[in-house]
Amino acid sequence: MTETVLETTNLTKRFGALTANDDISLSVDRGEIRGIIGPNGSGKTTLFNNLTGFYTPDEGSIVFDGTDITEWEPHRIARAGMARTFQIVSPFRNMTVTQNLLAVEAPDSIEDKHARAREILEFLEIDHIADNEARGMSGGQQKLLELARVLMLDPDCILLDEPSAGVNPALEKRILDHIQELNDDGTTFIMVEHDMDVMRTIADTVTVLDQGQLIAEGSFDEVTGNDRVREAYLGREVDLEEVLG
């Protein structure tokens, strides 16, 4: 039996005349890998910001793990078990990798933060740079550091904003393997990703946004076969004869 971990109802966020999230109702099952796709400006990052408390929605509600978190502040949502990464990597530059992890406000269930940090760094195979300063790391390593920091929260659900963007193919595979491994252990993932090959391999369900609205949902093959989705990405097919008369 599947259990819902995250549910939004009629989620709406407006910026002046622009409705960045328009009446979005979606529900994510525990243990799922959910892909979110859509053209640029379709509202994917706004959705993430709504879900993690960085924006307060104008309408609608967000329920995580059975609790209404719509009005919660970001740090409270993170501590409740919904963690996120950012599109642009944001390591704490003036600290070492280990210190980056120790800065995280881990839940009380983690007794030994140092041990937890070591475990995570070993799991992600970046323990050899544990004492390096974050600012000297490559872009790919910084992505892994972001994932490591998020894992310090021992989250139930992780929101990843383009985890494979700007990462070389070998490292991309490593990141995806780790995501798969964590998912096998029960962590739910919600991913924004432009790389359709990644989506095809990893996502259980794909949600498609366009101009702030949820326009399709289903397996990768279902949504890519959907006319509205093709239209959102490619534009409408026109009958030239009809147009030209």
Binding site: H75, A78, R93, M95, Q99, N100, E105, R149, L153
Partner: protein, 354 residues
Amino acid sequence: MSKREGSLPPRLESIVYTADGDGYDWRLAWGIVAVLLVAIPWLGAGTFELRILIGVLMWIGLAQSWNMIGGYAGYLDFGHGAYFGIGAFVTGIAMVSLSLPFLPALVLAGIFGAVFAYAIGVPTLRLKGAYFAIATWAFAEAMRQLALLLDITGGTSGLTLPSTMAAFGIPLPDLPRVIYLYYIMLVLSVGVVVLTYVLFEHHEFGYKVKAVRDNEDAAESLGIDATRIKRQVYVLSCTTAAVLGGAYAFYITFVHPQEVLDSMITAQMVIMALVGGLGTILGPIIGGALIFLLDRLSALYFGSDTMYISLMGLLIMLVVLFAPDGIVGLLTGETDASDIRSNLNSLLEKFKFQ
């Protein structure tokens, strides 16, 4: 402490480098400094030397106190001097109007500093950058005007404090007063430095503070309550400034708004931390000592503060243009000769006629 092999001059290296090759043993160097600091009144230092040292210690403490909020947390507090003044006045009022001994008066100074900092921090820490700087500066000006108007602060005539050690709070052997004042300032200043070192360099609290400074959104996304952290740092740094202000009042025995609430006090703290190196433990120690001594020397040779202010201006320009990481940046190699050269070139570039 991270290993920074090869960043010290060879002679210094041989003194502090341990045989096991595990990095410098700073403990030895600090141990020698600590023994010297405690022993100095008995090694022939007279009133003049001790007064200079009291000044050095106080400014190191104040620069470090500003460094907590300005350096580690990255919030430009241009009203920090107000807390020094609040501490001085609370100590003065407690000793004069309430006839309390110095020690309980100093505790009151710390408490008042903390309460004011909390009340001011809640609204102002929502502001960023220049807006926070302006708001705190305005608060400090308001405090100065208020102290000039109120009766309890002595208005325009200020307050005169008891000048004997009998007012200390604990019976003490009969030694020159300046020796006690030296030890009071030593304990407080070293206390501020050690507190900063432990909390900001070796504790999760410090990592959280730096996380909020580097990227507030990322910090929040990792469960860190950024508002709370900033408030804690602000209250802590303002409280230490207030306590140092209280000690200063007892040392000088005269408190006047135009002196202890002068905006130059904040400016000095900022300059010391900046020149030494923001957000580092050593920066305010080096900057505080160096700039206080420069101030005294310029007063000695040029006879007025005018020259000192121009010297400061020059020093700030040099630091901002060529070594933004301060003296500590130069010592650790963060800023090296090639950085300075490229900074100089890009500066010269701007002066070229097209």
